[in-house]
């Protein structure tokens, strides 16, 4: 019997948890190949830009981007703006998670809430949130608050919809079990429905974290005093394309870091949902 047999019926006890994936001869060998390919790409880019004399404001060479990144970080310019963007992205994301899970739970649990609030939320979802960004900036100002609201609005829906689906998709057998014990609605929610919905909720959070960064930058484009989006516009006006690329590098790394953070919490919280346990 193979280690990865998915037969849930009569498997022997799985003792060791995850086993080593076969077919990878050198540990970390894949990473070397990926890094090597990336280095070759950068070298070709650098060479092509120099040989073909491409102007800096069209496509700067990687070395110029590296230099811009270095000075931007050393002077504290990037650090300051990054702090603003990171702050509003994370705050907006948490706000979205709070409202998404909270509202989702109310909508899934109470029919009256579903009938009164959900149609409005659907309507709001159909609306491109970016279109109301100028309005939010009028109401909440040019500071960080308006961007937090925009981020929260953009990131809300995937969390909300997944929470509702997750809470409603609870296996009838588990609900029957709770009902046969005379469990209250709250007990069933706390002990069964909510943990059962976690994989769905995290699927929503994974989408939402990417949207949060998007909302943050677009919000800054529409109107802001600081932040990496603000800085991109400023660099754009100055034809400082190397700096724009440098900021994109930071944003890319930030996005990857946030996604990894969500996935880290996900694997910690949902150790049981590792792919071979759906049918318990």
């Amino acid at each position: 019997m193979t280690e990865h047999s998915s037969d849930a019926g009569s498997d022997p006890v799985r003792t060791g948890g995850r086993s080593a994936v076969s077919g990878r001869k050198l540990p970390g060998g894949d990473y070397f190949i990926s890094a090597g390919a990336f280095a070759i790409l950068l070298a070709i880019w650098e060479g092509a830009v120099r040989v073909l004399h491409v102007p800096d404001f069209i496509l700067p060479p990687p070395s110029a981007i590296g230099t811009s990144l270095y000075y931007g970080l050393r002077s504290g310019l990037f650090v300051h703006h990054f702090a603003v963007t990171a702050m509003q992205t994370i705050a907006g994301f948490f706000l979205a998670a709070l409202f998404g899970i909270g509202l989702g739970a109310l909508i899934a649990q109470f029919r009256i809430v579903e009938r009164t609030i959900y149609p409005w939320l659907i309507a709001l979802q159909a609306l491109p949130k970016i279109a109301i960004a100028p309005l939010i900036i009028v109401w909440a100002g040019y500071g960080i608050e308006s961007k937090i609201v925009i981020v929260a609005l953009v990131a809300l829906f995937p969390i909300l919809v997944n929470t509702i689906v997750g809470l409603k998709s609870c296996d009838q057998g588990k609900l029957d079990l709770m009902r046969s014990l005379g469990a209250t609605g709250w007990e069933t929610f706390r002990l069964v429905r909510l943990p059962n919905a976690l994989p769905f909720i995290f699927a929503g959070l994974n989408v939402a974290i990417v949207l949060a960064i998007l909302g943050s930058i677009v919000g800054e484009f529409v109107g802001s005093k600081a932040g990496l989006g603000n800085l991109i516009l400023e660099a754009n006006f100055q034809f400082n394309v190397a700096q724009m690329f440098a900021i994109l590098v930071i944003l890319g790394l930030f996005g990857v870091a946030l996604s990894m953070a969500v996935r880290f919490v996900q694997t910690r919280l949902m150790f049981w949902n590792t792919g071979f346990s759906q049918s318990i």
Binding site: A8, S10, G182, L191, F271, N273
Partner: protein
């Protein structure tokens, strides 16, 4: 073996051996009917005037084709179905809705994958707010009873299908109910695991002294395990016969090749196939499966 392969009809006409006083009746269904309305507006007669008494500590199995309402019957006894006509009496008093004195084992183990084996077994104790320390001690002894000592800290995904169902049985017994309802508990298991689980369940039944009401698709499982097998028929769902299984206990797998056992399974199969009179002329009492 002195067993004669005669089929004891039910209720017994002459013998008073099975005549029991009403206070030892654990579950009594009196004229229970259930009509479903389907999405298309049709009505389905899921159960038609079911009357059935189950004595305390009796092992009763129900067999019947799909759609004969046996699961509905179990759900009514288990308090999962509140909309029905007729009466349900548990130890003599009328009931409707969930009852602490009942434990249910479903076809799927329905374990909560984020809880350990021990936490899963303790779930009913938690919901029913039983004393935590006593429940814990009971959980350990039940896990020992179902042969899972040492697995307390494992998670369901680390267990085989048979082990999960054993956890479900321990869970159903944690609050010490007097009635155990089982809805095709071993239907998802392979034949060998199933035979093994049948023996395990009989062992548990012997030591825990519960009234068991088990639904099964397997004629031999029903005959092997039970004191009495109820045969149901669909459209409308009704009881067509109750057959006492007079095989001696304790039973072991050798019984499966015994002539008397074969006679019972043959009889049950005839009943299921709609042949209501047995070849040897014994008339099966239809519909009524109650003690008087």
């Amino acid at each position: 073996m002195s067993m004669t392969p005669t089929i004891l009809e039910f209720p017994p006409t002459s013998s008073s051996a099975w005549r029991a006083s009403t206070d030892s009746i654990a579950v009594s269904l009196q004229g229970v009917s259930k009509i479903y309305a389907t999405a298309s507006g049709e009505t389905v007669n899921a159960l038609h005037s079911i009357s059935l008494d189950i004595r305390a500590q009796e092992f009763v199995s129900v067999i019947g084709a799909s759609g004969c309402g046996k699961t509905t019957l179990l759900r009514i006894i288990g308090g999962l179905e509140a909309q029905y006509d007729g009466n349900l009496l548990l130890t003599g008093s009328k009931r409707r809705g969930p009852n602490k004195d009942i434990g249910i084992v479903f076809q799927d183990a329905n374990l909560l994958p984020w809880r350990t084996v021990l936490q899963n077994v303790l779930l009913p104790a938690q919901v029913l707010k039983l004393d935590r320390k006593q429940a814990m001690e009971r959980a350990f002894s039940l896990l020992e009873l179902v042969g899972l000592e040492g697995f307390e800290k494992k998670y369901p995904f680390e267990l085989s299908g048979g082990m999960r169902q054993r956890v479900a049985i321990a869970r159903a017994l944690i609050h010490d109910p007097s009635v155990l309802l089982m809805d095709e508990p071993f239907g998802a298991l392979d034949a060998l695991t199933r035979e093994h689980m049948n023996l395990e369940l009989l062992k548990i039944w012997h030591s825990a002294k519960k009234t068991v009401f088990m639904i099964t698709h397997s004629i031999s499982e029903a005959a092997f395990m039970s004191d009495r097998v109820i045969v149901m028929s669909p459209r409308p769902g009704r009881i067509i016969a109750g057959v006492m299984i007079g095989l001696p206990r304790p039973r072991n797998l050798d019984l499966l090749s015994d002539a008397a056992f074969g006679e019972y399974t043959r009889k049950l199969r005839h009943l299921l196939d709609g042949d209501h009179t047995s070849k040897d002329g014994a008339e099966v009492v239809r519909g009524r499966v109650q003690y008087d």
